[in-house]
Amino acid sequence: MRSRQEELIAKLTADLTPVKTAPPPLRVAGLWWLGSWLFVIVVTLLTGPLRPGAFVDLLTSAQFAAESLVGFFAAALIAAWVFEDSIPGTRRRGLLLLGLAAVASWLIAYVVGLEYPALEPSMAGKRAGCVLQTLLFAAPPMVAGIWLTNRNYFPLAPLRSAALIGLAGAMLPALFMQFACMYDPLHILRFHILPIPGVVIAGVIGAWVARRAFGRRRDLLRGRRG
């Protein structure tokens, strides 16, 4: 008589179909990154003008350029880690720590900016509803990231992945508001950065609900990607 394991192995073997290996995670992360930036830039431009002289400030203020670049790389590092981590057994703890350290530096830059702002705080270029726009513009990148990681890979901690892709996704509109809205570190912290935890929580809840509703485990014997 066959054991349970032998029976299962026989079933799984009988179910075997050729599978296409998952695409390299960093490549998918890069595509997500570019697509998300494109989306954020386009919808931001469609909903209002940029702050006058915003890009000139990048060249004239090293502090402004630094805080923008740190945020840019922080979100990129977090996104890269999430996609890499969706392949079981990939250990890139250093990448995550670097990303989180960059996120922390980005936040600290604005806290420091309360006392020593990179630019003279002003209402110039203020965007009505920037907080709502930050939330709304973050949602599609977050949903796309969660979908891409679950569609292509096998995240072992899907809620953590959702939280981090939510963080990376929400950082993009928050960052772009640097150029599309008024510059004042207090305003940035309250209206561009404070929505980020909301997006992270929404990502976790969304991922949890999606898993409960649709379930990753499809009919085993039908296979996943045959």
């Binding site: 349970r4 075997l16 050729p18 290996t21 079981p88 901690a157 509703a213 649709f214 379930g215 990607r225």
Partner: protein
């Protein structure tokens, strides 16, 4: 585990990804032995190891497209195994909580025995209730309430529609409640 095994696993996995059933069979057989040994060594429970191997093999099967050529196979396999083992331990804890005794419950007959004895009695009673259910209803409760699967996942496992699974869970819950009440009386 020997490096040779790892090389074999690697080769078999690449062949399996291309659809070679013979290589896949050898891979799963070899992995099931390695996983059993790993789980027994870490958790010291043969029965748990058996269930854990089953869960791990299913997860490995579902995730086989994520093994990327050129990367080592061992961390990939054991990350999945560890994840399944932790999931199973959580489910066990959930099960224990589900059947845990509220020793302050005034409705419970309080005897001179120790609270642990009551807890054991209640767990046995719960197991009896489950055993007494018709197999499809028992399976429905086990999949949804004990293993924590969603209705869709449970339905997929049982090979029925989600609607049918909902009805089964509902009926099973009612039957279990009736049985527990009868047991108390």
């Amino acid at each position: 585990m020997h490096a040779d095994d790892e090389n074999d696993w690697y080769d078999w996995m690449l062949l399996a990804q291309a659809g070679d059933a013979h290589a896949y069979n050898k891979l799963l057989a070899s992995l099931s032995r390695a996983i059993t040994s790993y789980v027994v060594r870490r958790f010291g429970n043969v029965e748990f190891a058996d269930d854990c191997v089953q869960e791990s093999l299913i997860a490995l099967h579902e995730a086989r497209h994520t093994f990327l050529p050129g990367r080592p196979i061992r961390p990939w396999v054991f990350a999945i195994v560890r994840n399944r083992a932790i999931d199973m331990l959580r489910r066990q804890q959930r099960r224990q909580r589900l059947f845990a005794v509220d020793i302050d419950d005034p409705m419970l007959p309080v005897a001179d025995a120790a609270p642990e004895a009551h807890a054991d009695d209640r767990r046995e009673s719960a197991d009896r209730v489950l055993e007494a259910l018709p197999p499809p209803q028992r399976q429905a409760l086990e999949l949804t309430k004990l293993m924590g699967l969603s209705i869709t996942e449970a339905a997929s496992r049982a090979g029925i529609s989600a609607g049918a699974m909902k009805v089964r869970v509902h009926r099973a819950t009612r039957a279990a409640i009736r049985a527990v009440e009868a047991d108390r009386e």
